[in-house]
């Protein structure tokens, strides 16, 4: 999924700058700048290719195509696409990382050892 169809996700466009606490109960696509925190307890966050997120992120699932600086905490799954730049720790149950993604930080895959899935780089 690159950019979700309008209506499926709440959408923060690339010209939008948000400073503060962002929380919600629907899926969110961020392509602008966010500084602070993002919390989507039972929903999915997509960080678009133009996004610059300086925030602690907490969601059910997180897909990263742009830049994230801060801790990423997903109860289900994190996907780092090839253009992703992450400076911060990633805590999740499952993670997939594409070839070319950049990660500086800790990866903590919690859950039962052996059930963690990190698909090989394509």
């Amino acid at each position: 999924m690159d950019a979700p169809l309008t209506g499926e996700f709440a959408h923060i466009g690339k010209s939008v700058v948000i400073k503060g606490e962002l929380s919600g109960s629907e899926d969110l696509f961020v392509d602008g700048q966010v500084e602070g925190s993002i919390e989507l307890r039972n929903n999915k966050l997509i960080v678009g290719p133009n996004a610059s997120v300086k925030a602690s992120v907490s969601a059910k699932g997180v897909v990263i195509q742009g830049t994230v600086q801060g801790t990423v905490n997903a109860t289900d799954r994190v996907e780092l696409r090839k253009s992703a730049v992450v400076n911060g720790d990633v805590i999740t149950q499952r993670i997939s990382i594409e070839e070319g993604a950049f990660l500086k930080g800790k990866v903590d895959v919690h859950g039962e050892p052996g059930k963690a899935t990190v698909p090989a780089a394509s």
Binding site: L80, S83, V85, I95, S96, I97, E98, E99, G100, A101, F102, L103, K104, G105, K106, V107, D108, V109, P113, G114, A116, T117, V118, P119, A120, A121
Partner: protein
Amino acid sequence: MKFFRSSSDQAPPLAVPQKRTRRSSGIGEVSRLLNSVENLCVLDLGSTSANNIRFLTEKGHKNYSEDLLRAAVDPGLLVKNPDGYWGLDSKKFLEENLVYQNALFDVVLCWDLADYMPEVLVKPAIDRLWSVMKPQALLLSFFHTRDAGPDSPCFRYHITGTDMLEMQEVKLPPMSRGPGDRQALRLQRVFKNRHIENLFRDFASIKFFLARDAIREVLVVR
């Protein structure tokens, strides 16, 4: 009716990056520790590798990734010395990299970082690593022998088995991550055994593994 597709309709085949494998005694020793102790803290200093993260997290260990070679060629480290020459600021390098206030590592995977890093950053980086490792922790590093030649490509090492590595040539993307040529990395020097021993003189012990492919593997105990 066209029975055969003209060859001109087909896109030229994409160049597939060549991947090589090598058996590694060093990673074999590291794997022995990873398989026998739970919940270790491992620092991987190569570029982000899904293989390595999977290998480590499947065993229940914590994996820290830091692409130190990429950080070492950051143009932001260049400073003009009082005598007018440009040099690298090792102090700034250590302020921005290898900063772990809440982590002490059981295993550090250095790969062949020291062979490709600028000279002025090598010793400070090794000293910093010493300070973020637990006593008895392991550090694995590779060093080329003179036979490798100065054009020896820089490889990213992916762990594919208990003592097997897949080698993928590394070319650094431009720092802006925009379009542009990728930088090929050049071997900076060839360390002799005495230099390697000096580099790790603060560590408790050092073990050399000789291989056939012009690379010496060095396993160091903190």
